[in-house]
Amino acid sequence: MSSVLIVGGGVAGIQAALDLAEQGIEVYLVDKAPSVGGKMAYLDKTFPTLDCASCILAPKMAALLRYPNIKLIMNSEVLEVSGRAGNFRVKILKKPTYVDWSKCNGCGVCTEKCPTKVPNEYNMGLSQRRAIYIMFPQAVPKRAIIDAEHCIRLNPPPKAKEKAKGPLCGVCERNCPTKAIRYDQQPEIIDLNVAAIIIATGMELYDPKNLPELGYGKHQNVYTNLEFERLVSATGPTNGEIVRKSDGKHPRKIAWIQCVGSRDVRFNHYCSAYCCMAATKQAILAKEHLPNVECTVYYMDIRAFGKGFNEFLERAKKEFGVRYIRGKVRIDEIPESKNLKIVYEDTAESYLKTEEYDMVVLSMAVTPNSKLSIPLELAEGGFIKLKNPYLDPVSTTIEGIFVVGAVAGAKDIPDSVTEASAAAARAALIAKRLACPTPEVVK
């Protein structure tokens, strides 16, 4: 019985790991972040049922720890892959966490004592974390990690370095109850031998600064949809209270702009698939948080294709009174109030209109995390090319390497999970030597 490597610990990677582990196959789960969870861990609720995202995801994440045959290799990257289906040799770079994870118990004392404050990536920079931190409260594995770039001890400011005689700071080391801090930890190369590989590296949001007419970064109250998701989330920067960046007040009118960077020949040709429903969900969440808020979605086409999606959309319109307006927009800021003036053509009426909003959320396109060290063929849009999109939708062009989730094409959570189980089954065939793939050497 041989093992399977899964690259990327998002919801798809977790599902594939659990499916394989249940069959008794040894699984290595590699993620560049210090915790599994991926983008789903950032979400507050999921569409179309408005289930709490972490209530679905956290049990799956915790389940990873229950299987002795799942090895989590966090804060790591795949450096090199060679060999062929049934016998891949993989080199993994395990970057230092500066904490001995076998001793750390995730108590969090160090994160309270650390004097250095840094913008929190998990909250999209809307709140702050310390230089030693646990990625988020439900993190799996719940272990602390030092951000070497901002830590005073590891990366001292040049002036302080000249003055000081010995090593600086060291607060976390002094306060750690289990003596787990290792400032001298070095990067580690891990060599693995696996039968199959599943790529589940997922996606990133497209950079909204490429669309200057929407003014992201220039206008304070323009948010990306992931930022808004953190804002409504109970674990978010404001503990779930929707407030504006500029004045800390509750917004009374919020607008969502669809297709930002997607379906646009200047940026990405493809439809990002999740945003119509995500915006509808966020509009409903906003209504639930602030019952008097007015929500408007500006769209080009609403694509409610999945099971229950159209009903969800109808519910948003009828039950919650979310307005849908067809038209692309330009956003201007009103300097006094920091409100946003949306200029759009109501294409149903062929009339240019302007409307003032307190907050604008951009439904960003997704771009795949497909810059890997594995020489996989890419398709249009940078997504990993599938061997046969109809009959073999989880196989890459290399035998024994499978691809699931948003790195193979923009998609939502249910589709990613479905693919993960499919890929797990295919990988298991190779791992259990039930399938004899044609030999094909990876250079």
Binding site: V265, R266, G327, R330, Y351, L352, T354
Partner: protein
């Protein structure tokens, strides 16, 4: 939609014709409306460029013929930069404009002129040029020599007569076209605004628009060039009228000379600058001109440039006391003017002065200006 008959007739070849007239990206449009949203005009005018493009795609000719929005477009090209389909809405609008102008023209010659290729245009232009050259030098050569021997640049009215006649002919050709344009545009619309208030609205609109556009270099340059051409042409027409009606004005040599130099220099710069930019246009410099490359755009400048050049040369030669050359330059100026007036002014891109005025007037009277 307001007004109109109950049934709308469709012209299936409309989108093909507009495509041929330069609207190459017509069928790319998927009606998102971002062109209207980013347009600096749309905030002031109650127009929808998207709707005009949609009607063209569908072939609703009767809606297109009376649509004033293509004429209100100033070809800034902001919409082209923000189009998610990579289409060029301003180019499509320019093509729709050509289509409309072809239909407004009652002679049917505009249709041929706008549809022909650049080579055909240049050849036609050269033919007209040759005819007027033969005509002028055949009839007036002896007179020119005779005038030149007087050493003064005064007895020009005789030379002016054929050009004035051609100008009148061009106006006579244009007048019914203008009336047709007015009928098409005013159809199914109600006059809501008084005449004087509508003039005020137009003035306000232009002041606001030009002040806004002055902040953007390529827009500012285009406005200045356009103003220079208008000033140059306007002054020349004014001076010609003064010359024919009240020739004594030219005895005030300093004033008249200053006016003549201002007119010819502004015309030369106004035409020369966009023409050179158009020739040099690449991705980095003058990229704006890459957006508008229809033969009519070229011809409007190519035909006007020698006129401007000759106008300047007349007075340069005169001031250098090279009277014969001044006369020849003057004759050439008139020779170049004839094909310009007969082709470009009567049928080509330059007809936009008439249709634009009519469109703005109709727009102002029927409540198309938001105004305040």
């Amino acid at each position: 939609m307001a007004g109109g008959s109950e049934f709308i007739s469709i012209n299936p070849s409309l989108n093909r014709e507009v495509f041929k007239l330069g609207g190459k990206s017509l069928l790319e449009c998927y009606q998102c409306g971002s062109c209207t949203a980013v347009c600096p005009l749309a905030e002031e005018l109650n127009v929808s460029f998207r709707r005009a493009i949609r009607y063209t795609q569908l072939g609703v000719e009767e809606k297109i013929l009376g649509d004033i929005s293509p004429w209100s477009c100033n070809l800034h090209g902001d919409c082209t930069d923000s189009c998610p389909r990579g289409a060029s809405p301003s180019e499509i609008l320019a093509a729709i404009r050509r289509y409309q102008a072809n239909k407004y023209d009652w002679t049917g010659l505009a249709r041929w002129w706008n549809n022909s290729s650049l080579t055909a245009k240049i050849l036609t232009y050269l033919a007209f040029f040759a005819i007027s050259l033969l005509f002028y030098f055949g009839i007036y050569w002896q007179k020119i020599l005779q005038f030149a021997s007087t050493g003064k640049l005064v007895i020009l009215s005789e030379l002016l007569i054929p050009v004035v006649a051609v100008f009148v002919v061009a106006l006579v050709i244009l007048a019914p076209s203008g009336y047709r344009a007015y009928r098409f545009m005013i159809k199914d619309k109600k006059k809501e605004v008084g005449f004087f208030k509508s003039l005020k609205l137009i003035a306000n609109f232009f002041i606001k628009l030009e002040t806004e556009s002055m902040g953007v270099p390529h827009k500012r340059d285009r406005i200045l060039e356009h103003v220079l051409i208008l000033v140059g042409l306007g002054l020349f027409i004014l001076l010609a009228i003064i010359y024919l009606v009240f020739p004594k004005f030219f005895e005030f040599e300093i004033i008249s000379k200053a006016l003549i130099y201002i007119a010819s220099l502004s015309l030369l710069i106004g035409v020369g600058s966009p023409l050179t930019k158009r020739l040099m246009a690449s991705e980095k410099t003058h990229w704006y001109y890459k957006k508008f490359r229809h033969p009519t755009d070229w011809m409007s400048l190519i035909t006007l440039f020698p006129v401007a050049l000759m106008a300047l040369l007349v007075f340069v030669f005169y001031d250098l006391s090279m009277i014969l050359y001044a006369y020849i330059a003057f004759a050439l100026l008139l020779i170049f003017l004839i094909p310009f007036l007969l082709l470009e002014f009567a049928f080509g891109k330059h007809t936009h002065w008439l249709y634009k005025i009519i469109a703005y007037y109709v727009g102002a009277r029927t409540g198309y200006f938001r105004g305040d």
